[in-house]
Amino acid sequence: MHISDGVLPPSVTVGTAAVALLFAAWSARRTDPDDLPKIAVVSSAFFVASLIHVPIGPTSVHLLIPGVVGILLGRSAFIAVCLGVVLQSLLFQFGGITAIGANACMMGIPALISGWLFRSMRGPSLPRLILAGATAGGLGIVLAVVGLALLLVTGGEDFLGVAKLAMYAHLPVLFIESAIAAFTVSFLFRVKPELLDMSFQAHAAR
């Protein structure tokens, strides 16, 4: 799920690039420098996750993990997604270079929203945490699909048609990512809970 060059009209390309820059600046300002190694690791995971293909029918879709990025990084998620999208476009030729802004918005804003949702949904108990993680992981995909459809509408596509098609194609990815998010959250809760707490505490302090 990447937008290629020349799909979007120029005004939308420029607009999404400006929005992405604004979000990236905000995200960078809100980032605690002590979180930098975590951000680097999660960005790397986001960057590489797009190579994991899930075969469905004649085509295949790949993992996106905006939800997991949002859960782990909170407000710093956008900068991680931006970096990942730029490198995917440059090295993997996933998505066009002019569409980097659009792709960053399409992935980064869902990441921020699912991070926020996870933060507001999580409870002290493990089942509640897992539920929050799975919901946030699935929501990331749903929001990314909605964002894709919204962006493609500006390119002259039919919103419902694109949204339905992309949603059907990404249903397996949705379930897989919910499971990944739930597993990640429960594993981190048991092994290193401060990794889940740290970013949120840092955000609470700011």
Binding site: P33, L36, P37, I39, A40, S43, S44, F47, V48, L51, L83, G84, L87, Q88, L91, F92, Q93
Partner: protein, 138 residues
């Protein structure tokens, strides 16, 4: 004198003779061989050609042979073209090299960000210490 002759025919001299012989064989042998070989082939080829040419030319057989060749060649070409397409597909697909490049970029950028942060912190610490020294001229 006899001894001298005997020395001449020691193993070393024998080996020299052998080497000379080998060299001769190598440099002259093939030349003779090819010259000898060429003549018979020419001699044998000409009767064959004569045999092929001498009967009435069978164009039907010729064209069917050519057609068969053409079909076979086109089949092989199609196979090669398919293989080239598959290869191009494989090459376009990002591999381990790109993955490591990207991860390296990310870690490097994180390192740069760390450096900037540390520098800012150090400068602010130095400023603080300067101001405390200025503030307390004991």
């Amino acid at each position: 004198m006899h001894r001298h002759f005997a020395r001449l025919f020691t193993t070393r001299s024998w080996s020299c003779v052998l080497l000379l012989g080998l060299l001769l064989a190598v440099f002259h042998g093939p030349a003779f061989g090819t010259e000898e070989a060429k003549e018979p082939t020419e001699a044998s080829a000409s009767p064959e050609e004569r045999q092929e040419v001498s009967p009435a030319p069978d164009f039907g057989e010729f064209s069917s042979l050519l057609d068969r060749h053409k079909v076979q060649l086109s089949r092989e070409m199609a196979q090669i073209r398919r293989e080239i397409a598959a290869l191009r597909d494989d090459m376009a697909r990002p591999g381990i090299k790109e993955v490591f490049a990207g991860v390296g970029y990310i870690l490097g950028l994180a390192g740069v960000a760390f450096y900037m942060h540390a520098r800012r912190e150090r400068l602010s610490l130095r400023k603080k210490s300067d101001s405390t020294i200025d503030g307390n001229p004991s």
